[in-house]
């Protein structure tokens, strides 16, 4: 009995790694551009479908497909910011929310008409079912474990990028005060676009892992957005390591909820979020 619960909680922790990946891209885009990209989840699902086409349509191995989508997603993020989002930046939150909202609906229905409503998954090969027994009847899936480690590496890399590189300093400068940044000669539009390109890269990486580990369909985007948003807020806005803690908290809550009843899985995550948010609106690790 205890082993079942421990198994569920371990699963939840590992699921939290995936949620943290969704969340760190969102966190970066919020921190840099001061808005919540409503289409964040839909972009993850869009890249997942791209991976599906590359693997099952063209027969490429999953790793190669992921390697191909990474630069595509970077350029996609860059262009999305440069050509669309930049035009509505600095005009208040309403236009940016409405534009990304419209984008979200376009992506969902575009995917629906291109791929149909079926639930999909990218075949990852033998790694999907491989497990490591850690004693006492508890098993860790190899793939979830790799995803969790990747999340940690990714957060570390993003943290280094933002706080220990020239590019990171520029991104933080334009996000703190765009007028002053422009005044000292920073090309803010370009820096925003590069930051969104980095967000695109995190989207590609999370999509690669998500599409192999979980099922998805064209309407999966909003649930990914909500869980990413919850992880960001729970962790404390702007805190990258906080998103990992937030993601793990949500993953564990969902895993425990699912143990009672499959239908409780998602609800348990939302309830945990609302309870912690009411008690601690600034999140667990608020920056500054």
């Amino acid at each position: 009995m205890a082993a079942i619960w421990i198994n569920q909680i371990v699963q939840g922790v590992l699921l939290g790694g995936l949620y943290a990946m969704f969340a760190m891209g969102l966190s970066l885009s919020i921190g840099v551009m001061q808005f919540v990209n409503i289409a964040h989840g839909d972009l993850i699902v869009l890249v997942s479908f791209l991976l599906l086409t590359l693997t099952s349509g063209l027969g490429l191995p999953p790793l190669l497909a992921a390697a191909i989508t990474l630069p595509i997603a970077f350029v996609g993020g860059f262009l999305l910011q440069r050509l669309l989002l930049q035009r509505v930046l600095g005009k208040g939150v309403l236009p940016i929310i409405l534009v990304t909202f419209g984008l979200s609906i376009i992506i969902q229905n575009g995917l629906l008409s291109a791929y149909g409503a079926d639930t999909r998954k990218v075949a990852g090969g033998a790694i999907e079912t491989a497990t490591i027994p850690i004693g006492g009847g508890v098993n860790i899936g190899v793939l979830p474990f790799i995803i969790f480690l990747s999340a940690i590496v990714l957060i570390f890399a993003l943290d280094r990028l933002l706080y220990h590189t020239r590019l990171g300093a520029r991104i933080r400068a334009v996000s703190d005060d765009v007028a002053t940044a422009n005044l000292i000669g920073l090309k803010s539009a370009r820096i925003y676009a590069v930051a969104m390109g980095v967000v695109g890269a995190t989207i590609a990486i999370s999509a690669a892992f998500m599409s192999v580990w979980t099922n998805f369909d064209p309407s999966s985007g909003p649930s990914r957005l909500l869980v990413a948003f919850e992880a960001v807020v729970l962790g404390g806005l702007g805190s990258l390591w906080g998103t990992l803690v937030g993601g793990v908290a949500l993953g564990v809550a969902q895993a425990i909820g699912a143990q009672f009843d499959a239908a409780w899985q998602i609800l348990a995550g939302h309830i945990l979020f609302l309870v912690i948010f009411v008690i601690r609106p600034q999140g667990l690790f608020p920056r500054n």
Binding site: V36, V88, I106, N109, I266
Partner: protein
């Protein structure tokens, strides 16, 4: 004010009055199928007016207002079908219930700043929808039909029932329009208009931004709740994904308001008409109508953020419905300045 602009205003107001006249006589003019479409139109119009009040004026960009429609639907079912309360009274109690839920929901989501409030309100709506799926008295996740006895209370025959439901939707829409109009004409409306135009400025001249936000949020809840009951009478069923439908009560509503013109009294009305025209005539393009609406709303925000009405307003010299206060007209000012100049010299 040029002559053509004045004419356009007159034509626009005439069209509005004619439209209202047709709607007021609709049960005598139209077949049940058309009447049902008009009922949907009026229900959606109510929700659009309320979303516009929040997003267009009070700076509360919510993506979770469908929660109140769902709460109203479930409350109507609870009172009318489970508790046996008079069905008409149950509709009103649906509005009261939505209001009661609005208070704690507001306390939670108002802790989030504007950009986060949108997704925060969505989380709350999602939680309530999933929670509604756990209520076994309401059929759990698959929902339950409204009992025949409750349905018959609105008319024994189908035709009479459609007319009754239409009148309910008509009364609700009229009440929503007139009361929101009066709200906009009151002192509150001045504050809201100031807030729409410049939030910081409004705050610095003494507009109580928080009080206005609270008022607007609580104002919309009962209307959405009653609309939920009226919608349930059309669908004859409560079910979590249908009663709390984000597509029907939030996505469409946002498109309606954005395309029609956010932050204007005319916007939701124009948007709802355009939306129903697109829906009726482009139904065969299926999913593409969503994509069309999405592209159209993004284009509107990029080209003319005040929507179709904002575009029309470039050629038309006045509001169709004078809901917002304006400073005294130019001639008055220049006349006074002229007289002051005359005195000075």
């Amino acid at each position: 004010m040029n002559a053509s602009g004045t004419w356009l205003i007159a034509i626009g107001r005439l069209a509005l009055i004619l439209g209202a006249g047709v709607l007021a006589a609709a049960p005598f003019l139209f077949a049940p199928a058309q009447l049902q479409i008009l009922t949907q139109f009026l229900s959606l119009l109510v929700i659009a007016i309320m979303w516009n009040l929040l997003a267009g004026y009070a700076d509360i960009v919510s993506i979770g207002q469908h929660a109140f429609v769902g709460i109203g639907a479930y409350a109507f079912f609870a009172f009318a079908a489970l508790a046996g309360v008079n069905p008409y009274l149950s509709l009103l109690l649906g509005g009261v219930t939505a209001f009661v839920f609005a208070v704690p929901i507001m306390l939670v989501i108002f802790r989030l700043r504007a950009a986060y409030l949108a997704v925060g309100s969505w989380v709350v709506a999602e939680t309530l929808m999933l929670g509604a799926g756990k209520l076994s008295a309401f059929g759990g996740g698959s929902g339950v039909s409204v009992p025949i006895s409750v349905v018959k209370a609105f008319g024994a025959q189908a035709a009479a029932r459609y007319a009754t439901i239409y009148w309910l939707a008509f009364a609700l829409a009229a009440l929503a329009l007139v009361s929101t109009y009066l709200l906009m004409r009151s002192k509150v409306g001045i504050g809201l208009t100031a807030m729409r135009d410049n939030e910081e400025g409004a705050g610095s001249v003494g507009v109580n931004l928080i009080a206005l936000r609270v008022l607007c949020f609580l104002w919309t809840a009962p209307f959405l709740g009653i609309a939920g009951g009226v919608i349930t009478l059309q669908k004859l069923r409560v079910a979590p994904p249908a009663s709390f439908s984000i597509t029907d009560w939030t996505v469409y509503v946002i498109f309606i308001v954005v395309i029609g013109g956010i932050g204007s009294f005319e916007g939701p009305i124009i948007g709802a008409i355009v939306f129903f025209l697109i829906r009726e005539y482009l139904a065969e393009i299926g999913l593409w109508h969503f994509i069309l609406l999405g592209v159209l709303s993004i284009a509107v925000i990029l080209v003319e953020p005040r929507g179709l009405w904002g575009l029309a307003r470039r050629f038309v010299s006045d509001d169709l419905i004078p809901a917002s206060f304006r400073p005294p007209r130019q001639p008055v000012m220049s006349a006074r300045i002229a007289s002051e100049n005359a005195e000075a010299s």
